[in-house]
């Protein structure tokens, strides 16, 4: 066990992390943030995606120790002051999910995309989210939702 300090959803926290622990396990088991979902546990399905200093990362292959001193944002940290993030609202509006298990990672991944590209075209969304699997087949609605959210965010 080693002490790990990082900022999680805006709050600075210090906790114990086992040597070699992955970020996903610290989030889910240590902090109870179960919105971050395990899927493949090898970085290929995207369901565990979180933002580390604003960049989308696969928390299942990210060593917990590597986020020391950094800012980590999970799906639980996207809404502000009780108001849904535009991506969350757009996923609701387009019903861009079925079982919804991939949705938190998908939304966080899309937030990472919009941070880099405020006006992503259809191909840019598809390319950026290609590392995310939706087994239910809601991809067409997800693309629509992400583009709609980006537009809302551009308008401020």
């Amino acid at each position: 066990m080693a002490k790990l300090t990082f900022t999680i959803n805006g709050t600075r926290r210090t906790l114990d992390a086992a040597a070699g622990a992955r970020l996903i396990d610290v989030l889910r088991d240590g902090l109870g943030l179960t919105g971050t979902k395990p899927g493949c546990r090898e970085g290929t399905c995207g369901s565990c995606t979180v933002l580390v200093d604003g960049r989308a990362m696969r928390s299942c292959i990210t060593p917990a120790a590597s986020v020391a001193g950094k800012r980590v944002t999970t799906i639980e940290g996207l809404a502000t002051a009780g108001k849904l993030h535009p991506l969350q609202q757009a996923f609701l509006d387009y019903e861009a999910y079925q079982c919804g298990y991939c949705t938190p990672g998908m939304i966080v991944g899309a937030a990472g995309l919009i941070a880099r590209n405020a006006s992503p075209g259809e191909q840019a969304v598809r390319q950026a989210l290609d590392g995310h699997i939706c087994r239910c087949g809601s991809q067409p609605r997800i693309v629509q939702a992400v583009r709609a959210a980006a537009e809302v965010m551009r308008r401020g």
């Binding site: 943030l33 899927g39 290929t44 996923f91 999910y97 919804g100 938190p104 590392g131 067409p140 609605r141």
Partner: protein
């Protein structure tokens, strides 16, 4: 008598604490307030409590069944408190499978709700909650990450179990030794206060297995044919293994032209994104309570009771929504593993499967050999049709076409692989073989594939679906890269047109028209159909479990290609809403259209007809 409202809250909020404390979780059936469990009742606070043994796994059942109750009682959908999949609280509505909820559970819920109101069922023109796009009631919790799936459930003080697995696919346990090893039959596992401790103990344990070899794929297919048993006619079962009319053999003998085709299907995995898990706990009264994420809680209860040597009424199964099912979460497996470890340790024990466990220790969509033997008259009309499905199953055997003499047969075999349910079951393979055969005749006879299909279809709704899809697609006769398929599956009528291109192969667009009768929740229906079509791309083009002579080689998602964003074409999925016609279940049918439509398109591009799933076409 306790207020059921409290029980519902108790179930939702207090379960964890209760389970952790080891206290009894016995809730007598009588608390439901009826000898026979009811689907609907008015609670003391004036709100509506509803109960179903069905579960939601993303197909939108919490929303749809709440709509049913709200519709008959004239209340907002949000007023309905629906308890799903709890064997102590809900009626046994059968497993959540086979697109049966809409034809069976929807009418049952509506009838019971109407009875509470003391009025007949509302006519479609009086519908308030049904027949309109109701947003998924889970949506707000899904997008914020607050929604608790099966694997998100944790209990204070619970222990963690690890199951010892053999490297070989078909193995029997010979011996298992080591600190804390629990052995029962072919099961050997270990539990400890933390997962890390359990894993450390498991790593030190020694288990020996005796294993049987696995046949190569071609040998397995050959054995299906050599050992298959002819079907016995029985039209009383859900999936009759022999559907026939006239004398197909005799008609074949007199046909103007004949053709024999053989199609093969590889075994594939469901690859639901959430690995399964279960938490098992014995109460002081000896009752066993299991929280899991299975599609058929009452089947799981029966299987757990049998495995544990208990009475079914001494077992309670509580389902938390799984993150995808598609047929892989029906039978007991992880539940029994957790129960065995809970019994041996006296602790509450959680077992979660790894991704490799999901791939290897669940079951596959069955491999198959499907042969068609067909003949046409001098006019070009198909007059004789015989289709034989070896190993995969009888679902989807009934042709939507008017063939004068036909025989559609399921030949059961003994498969060397674990196989079981999968969205649409064998209907996907059966439609692939049937549609490819019809398409082959259209090509041989130089007929337009749409016109040729229509010439054999009497069903007006299927004809209308094909014609509407052709129009939306902009179909103007045969064109390189274009393929189509149709089906009448479980009372759903569907038509699909696709356009593909080569160098490299890619799907450019899909146009689908689907008629399932009344669209009870049109937006959700569209999402389901579109999703099933997309899921079908994987099985059509890439998915295949690989084995060597003893082991399954496919154990990781990186080695198993499923559809991703850049694989999904532009899609136009249109739902025909026939309000006056009883709604059919729509969770499955879409997946039966993708492979044959893609095969027809690939044939037009390459001149070679794909005869296997997955198809061998070079893709990026």
């Amino acid at each position: 008598m306790a207020d059921l409202t409290l029980l519902v809250e108790y179930k939702r909020r207090e379960f964890l604490k209760v389970l952790a404390s080891g206290a009894s979780l016995t809730i007598p059936v009588e608390l439901q307030g009826a000898e026979t469990r009811v689907h609907v009742r008015r609670a003391a606070d004036g709100r509506i409590d509803a109960f179903t043994g069905k579960i939601d796994m993303g197909q939108g059942l919490r929303t749809l069944l709440s709509q049913c109750v709200a519709n008959e009682l004239g209340v907002p959908v949000e007023e309905v408190r629906l308890v799903m999949g709890d064997t102590d609280l809900t009626p046994d509505d059968g497993g959540t499978w086979a697109s049966l909820t809409t034809p069976e559970t929807v009418p049952a819920m509506r009838k019971d709700a109407a009875a509470v109101r003391g009025a007949p069922l509302r006519e479609p023109k009086e519908w308030t909650a049904l027949g309109r796009s109701q947003r998924n009631l889970n949506g707000p919790d899904i997008v914020t990450g607050a929604f608790k799936y099966n694997s998100d459930v944790k209990v204070d003080g619970m222990w963690h179990g690890v199951v010892l697995r053999p490297a070989e696919y078909r193995a029997k346990l010979v011996s298992a030794e080591g600190q804390g090893v629990v052995r029962q039959g072919d099961f050997a596992g270990i539990c400890a206060p933390t997962l890390a401790e359990a894993r450390a103990l498991a790593a030190k344990a020694k288990a020996e297995w005796a294993y049987e070899p696995l046949p190569a794929f071609d040998k397995m297919i050959a054995a299906f044919k050599a050992e298959g048993k002819p079907p016995v006619e029985n039209n009383q079962v859900r999936y009759p293994p022999l559907i026939r009319r006239g004398d197909a053999e005799k008609a074949l003998a007199t046909a103007s032209q004949r053709r024999s085709l053989a199609f093969t299907l590889a075994p594939i995995a469901h690859a639901a994104l959430e690995p399964r898990s279960a938490i098992s706990s014995f109460g002081e009264d000896g009752r066993l309570t299991i929280r899991c994420g299975k599609q058929a809680p009452f089947v799981v209860r029966a299987e757990v009771a049998k495995a544990m040597g208990m009475k079914e009424t001494d077992v309670r199964i509580i389902v938390d929504m799984p993150g995808g099912g598609f047929g892989c979460k029906q039978r007991s497996d992880v539940e029994v593993e957790a129960a065995r470890l809970a019994k041996a340790s006296g602790k509450t024990v959680r077992v979660e499967w790894s991704r490799a466990d999901e791939f290897v220790w669940s079951y596959a969509r069955p491999a198959a050999l499907i042969e068609t033997e067909t003949g046409v008259a001098a006019s070009g009309r198909i007059v004789s049709w015989r289709q034989r499905n070896y190993n995969a199953g009888a679902p989807g055997l009934r042709p939507p076409y008017d063939f004068a003499d036909h025989s559609n047969e399921f030949w059961a075999t003994r498969a060397p692989l674990r196989q079981g349910s999968y969205r649409a079951l064998a209907a996907t393979g059966n439609n692939f073989a049937r549609e490819s055969t019809v398409d082959e005749w259209a090509s041989t006879l130089n007929r337009d594939p749409l016109e040729y299909r229509l010439a054999h279809i009497a069903d007006q709704r299927l004809r209308a679906a094909l014609e509407m899809a052709a129009q939306r697609f902009g179909y103007k006769g045969r064109k390189v890269g274009v393929g189509l398929a149709c089906n009448l599956e479980k009372e759903g009528r569907m038509a699909l047109f696709v356009e593909c291109a080569m160098e490299p192969f890619r799907i450019l667009r899909m146009t689908c028209v689907a008629d399932f009768g009344a669209a009870l929740n049109p937006s959700n229906l569209q999402n389901q159909v579109q999703g099933a079509l997309i899921m079908g791309i994987g099985g059509a083009l890439w998915e295949r479990l690989e084995f060597d002579s003893t082991k399954q080689l496919t154990t990781r998602l990186t080695n198993y290609r499923v559809p991703r964003f850049t694989d999904v074409p532009a899609m136009d999925v249109h739902i025909v809403d026939r309000r006056e016609i009883t709604a059919a279940g729509a969770g499955e049918a879409g997946i039966t259209l993708t492979a044959p439509a893609l095969a027809a398109a690939i044939f037009s591009l390459t001149g070679k007809r794909p005869m296997s799933m997955p198809m061998r076409v070079q893709t990026p």
